[in-house]
Symmetry: C2
Subunit: 338 residues, 2 copies
């Protein structure tokens, strides 16, 4: 049942070589690589055994071996040590982050770009979302006589805005008064508390308060529309995607708005690897994902990850994702306080 040491070495070499070259790996190639010092016949026996166990397959009789999803998984879990990025590469990335202007949107875009390039896959990152939204401040801005813009700032600095249709014409000074009143009433409150304080408000104040609640709820529940992507180009040049339909799956996944949120992930700090869709996302059968949650647990978190072919440089991807998630966590800590 368990693999011998040599079989593990062979599996490891097959995975790494196949990831690098995208060509089936032959016993001859393993022999000349010098990773094991036995004859090609012995290697073939081991390859056959690995195939029996389901770690490898054959595209056709006279071809080399290719890892299966199970093979990749074994590799990631058992054979892949703690790979670190080359130090200078890590430094470059850190440097880029410290140089960037201190704005969330730019950080996210940067993170996506850095990740895409470093992992050579498509990168996704969703904005950090407050797990426990708290009202901080709202503003009402008159735009037309019967229309106003509501800007809501949440604890931590998340900003949401929405247009409000007014029942009666209302001028700016009146709006400002209303805003001041609501600010006084709701400052620092969570949605439940706000709901408890709705009594006694005028119709208009009630409208505004309801909109604010709606925006707060939206922030907690709805998939964030703020998902930054990058690196589609990188991944589309992979050989498995030049031929038609495989590309569609991955592009479709990236366009799906709620995609990232569906992955219920572990705590901040762990990196999760999903290989070949793992049954649950069967459109992604030839894709793998490496994802992590970043931010501050229980307070504000977002998701960051990469999507690529199953034939993905897992070592690089995992360490890149871990690094970027760590950096983003730091930033979230800075912005939102700890």
């Amino acid at each position: 049942m368990g693999l011998t040491l040599r079989q593990q070495q062979i599996l490891s070499y097959v995975v790494q070589t196949y990831v690098a070259t995208a060509k089936p790996v032959s016993s001859q190639a393993i022999l000349t690589s010098g990773h094991v010092i036995v004859s090609s016949a012995t290697i073939r026996n081991d390859l056959a055994a690995l195939e029996d166990e389901g770690f490898l397959t054959h595209p056709h009789t006279s071809a080399g071996r290719v890892p299966t999803d199970k093979g990749y998984r074994y590799f990631v879990e058992r054979l892949l040590g703690d790979v670190e990025l080359p130090p200078h590469e890590e430094n470059t990335i850190r440097h880029q982050f410290h140089q960037a202007r201190l704005e969330m949107g730019q950080w996210m875009q940067l993170a996506a770009a850095v990740l895409a390039r470093s992992s050579r896959s498509a990168a996704l990152i969703s904005a950090p979302r407050l797990e426990q939204p708290r009202f901080r401040h709202l503003e009402l801005i008159s735009t037309q006589s019967q229309m106003a813009l509501l800007v809501l700032v949440l604890q931590g600095g998340t900003v949401r805005q929405q247009v409000l249709a007014l029942r009666d014409p209302t001028d700016q000074s009146e709006l400002s008064q209303t805003a001041a009143r609501l600010n006084g009433l709701f400052g620092g409150a969570d949605p439940a508390t706000i709901r408890g304080r709705l009594a006694g408000l005028s119709d208009f104040e009630l409208d505004a308060a309801r909109s604010a609640l709606e925006l707060m709820a939206g922030d907690a529940n709805q998939p964030s529309t703020e998902v930054f992507r990058d690196g589609l180009t990188e991944v589309l040049q992979e050989p498995e995607f030049v031929s038609q339909s495989g590309a569609r799956a991955i592009v479709h996944a990236l366009e799906q708005p709620g995609f990232l949120q569906d992955l219920t992930l572990a705590k901040v700090g762990t990196v999760q690897v999903v290989i070949g869709g793992e049954g649950r996302w069967h459109e992604l059968s030839s894709c793998s994902m490496v994802m992590a949650r970043y931010g501050v647990d229980g307070f504000a978190t977002g998701t960051v990850g990469v999507v690529g072919p199953t034939r993905m440089p897992y070592g690089r991807a995992i360490s890149s994702v871990r690094l970027v998630a760590g950096l983003m966590s730091g930033l979230v800590g800075d912005i939102y306080g700890e």
Copy 2:
């Protein structure tokens, strides 16, 4: 020099048929379509003439005709009447817009989705940008003792935020005082006016004011990072993109951040068609773009458009873009006031 009426009809039919089928159009096909009532030999003569004029080409000797970029251009400018979307389709789109929650981000996402589906191409839309930013309100939110979040609301409701590193530990009440002071000083001012009022501020106030100015400038000059995209899937199934490298060009264009802004466009209201990159974007030689500016001229405008193969349903695309641009202009008018 000028084309005869029959040649125009033939060119029109070739363009439309090729757009629909992606296959070269033969004289036989034109004959049996019944659009012209002459023999196939006559049609061949006209096809040859159209080819001499540069409106059509031949992939090879024994193949039908395919429009050139010049042919598409002639078709769009001279032969394509004012195409309207089927009324029920237009109604569906209008309906979707009126149903959506009144939030800018959602509108943009919706616009991109609607456009992608309706035009069967990839859609891009950039957030409206104030052409003349004016300060409205800022807030300073304490996060850590030496760090604060600056939230800036511009006239019209655009919101920008940035982290501010503080020289000395500062608590929230102090921050609020500073914010109140700056709000009083700068309310309604444009960048130039603000610069004129910097004298006499404390170091810390100066820092905050400078950041605010930077954010205002960024809003006016930098390419908006807020570009919503949709419909890559649609366009990647087109036959010209299943074979590798063509897809890269279009994906790359869509990932380019400042891409939309580079197109210096006419006023709000006109729809611009760029066919085959038109020399300027030579990576996009096999792509066309249909773009329009939306918003309120001289105040706040954004760009909306679709990108697809030159073999694009121009009629549909133009009317879809025009419709969506019109709707978005209405929304910008509502939000920003007129």
